[in-house]
């Protein structure tokens, strides 16, 4: 991205150079936090940007009242967007961070970077199985970021760990269950798992319906097309999901217009 790239939505305007400088200084934690996000958002791949983000992964200065590391979270997220695989070992180390949200960001970024070498480290986090996947007292989350870990395993594993993932299909938390179903579909190619997601589109929770729509779009599950179009949710989200189906089909068949893609596009037309 060019140095002159600016963000103009009321947020402070930055350039790549300014963002890197802001991230390197240690006086203003707000500026550092924003700079880390900005470098990821605008995909600044300069070596200085990567070096500064890597350094931020071990920052000790920016702490929240819970003992968390806000800057590390943003840096880990940003590093997932820069397509530079050299950062993978540092992200793997973040999986041991005491901050749940740093571990979550690291798992997501490892997935984006297609870091197959992180599978064993991801598996370590869910070693306790479903029995160990319990809530942390006083926190709005479980002991590990199971959704992010299961999703990452779905993309990165070669299928060898299906027996580890499968039990999470019966977890009590719907988001965890869905992440397991999505991963199982990706690893086995069996429709029964994606169909579990489709069934959940009829649930009462709008947030959950939205996240399943996006899941189905990301796995590009063609048989879900009609169910997606008729789900009660915003058309913009349904269009994103259907785009995922359409593009998966195009990618597999190398044909832009076929019976399958026409069907998806007809549904999309009704949602514009």
């Amino acid at each position: 991205m060019a140095d002159s790239q600016i963000l103009n939505d009321g947020a402070p305007q930055l350039t790549a150079e300014k963002a890197i400088a802001n991230l390197r200084q240690t006086e203003d934690t707000g500026d550092r936090y924003y700079a880390a996000w900005w470098l990821g958002r605008f995909q600044v791949r300069a070596p200085e940007a990567i070096a500064a983000l890597l350094e931020a992964l071990t920052d000790e200065k920016d702490r929240d009242t819970d003992g968390g590391f806000p800057l590390r979270r943003n840096a880990a997220r940003a590093l997932g967007k820069l397509e530079d695989k050299s950062v993978i070992p540092a992200l793997i180390e973040c999986l041991d961070c005491a901050d749940y949200y740093v571990r979550e960001a690291a798992a997501q970024s490892l997935e984006s970077l297609n870091a197959k070498e992180s599978v064993d480290d991801l598996l370590k986090l869910i070693e306790g199985g479903v029995r160990g996947a319990v809530a942390v007292e006083g926190k709005p989350h479980l002991v590990q970021p199971y959704n992010a870990i299961l999703e990452a395993l779905g993309s990165l594993d070669d299928g060898a760990n299906v027996p580890v993932i499968e039990p999470f299909l019966s977890h009590d938390v719907p988001q965890v269950k869905n992440a397991a179903a999505r991963a199982m579909y990706q690893l086995t190619g069996e429709n029964q798992y994606a169909d579990k997601l489709v069934d959940t589109l009829r649930c009462d929770d709008l947030q959950l319906r939205r996240s399943i729509l996006l899941d189905l779009g990301e796995i590009g599950y063609l048989p879900a097309a009609e169910a997606i179009a008729s789900t009660l949710a915003e058309n913009s989200i349904k269009l994103i999901a259907l785009k995922g189906l359409l593009e998966k089909q195009i990618q597999q068949s190398k044909i832009l217009v076929s019976d399958q893609t026409r069907k998806v596009m007809s549904l999309m037309d009704t949602l514009l």
Partner: protein, 216 residues
Amino acid sequence: MDDSVLQSRLQAVESADSAQSMIDSVEALAELKDEGAIDALIRVLGYNNPGAAVAAVEGLIQIGTPAASAVLEQIDGYNYGARAWALRVLAGIGDPRGLDLIVETAAEDFSLSVRRAAARGLGAIQWERLTAAERHDGQVKVTDTLLKVVRDDPEWVVRYGGVVGLQGVAAAAAVDGLAGVVKRVGEGLGDRASHDDVPAVRARAQWALEQLREQA
């Protein structure tokens, strides 16, 4: 239509006391497709309740021309939120009296979902309500706007909506024998089918070309 049904459903919208009961009562009112519901449905567009607004927009589109008349009379007084919903109504009805507003919206609105609806709507204008000369000018203007939208809008879904819009205007222009419009749309779609960054937009442009060829 039994007037008491309309009255009781209007009353239900008036007395809705939660976001969900508002949505339910607006859906019930919209279902009647009754011109007597127009003013109440238009008021809902300003309530900052997206679920209810979606139902109201759908209802107003179903009512058609009389709803477009009411919206056009009042639109200047709307705040941004209500105006965005009102433009969706106009785009959905395709009322040619709203053509300039819809053109402007497709090209310039701040919200991508409003641009998307406007771009799609430009492909479904009720051209038969205009004279031949007006149709010609209108279709040239719509074509100019949409060719720019499909090339320049940063959002894939707006370009996708623009492709659908272009297909619609070319189909209408073909009926009128406006070969110039048809040719320019064909070139614009061909460019998108090969060069858009987003496969979904390329596919839709390719399909639009195939459908236009079949109609020719």
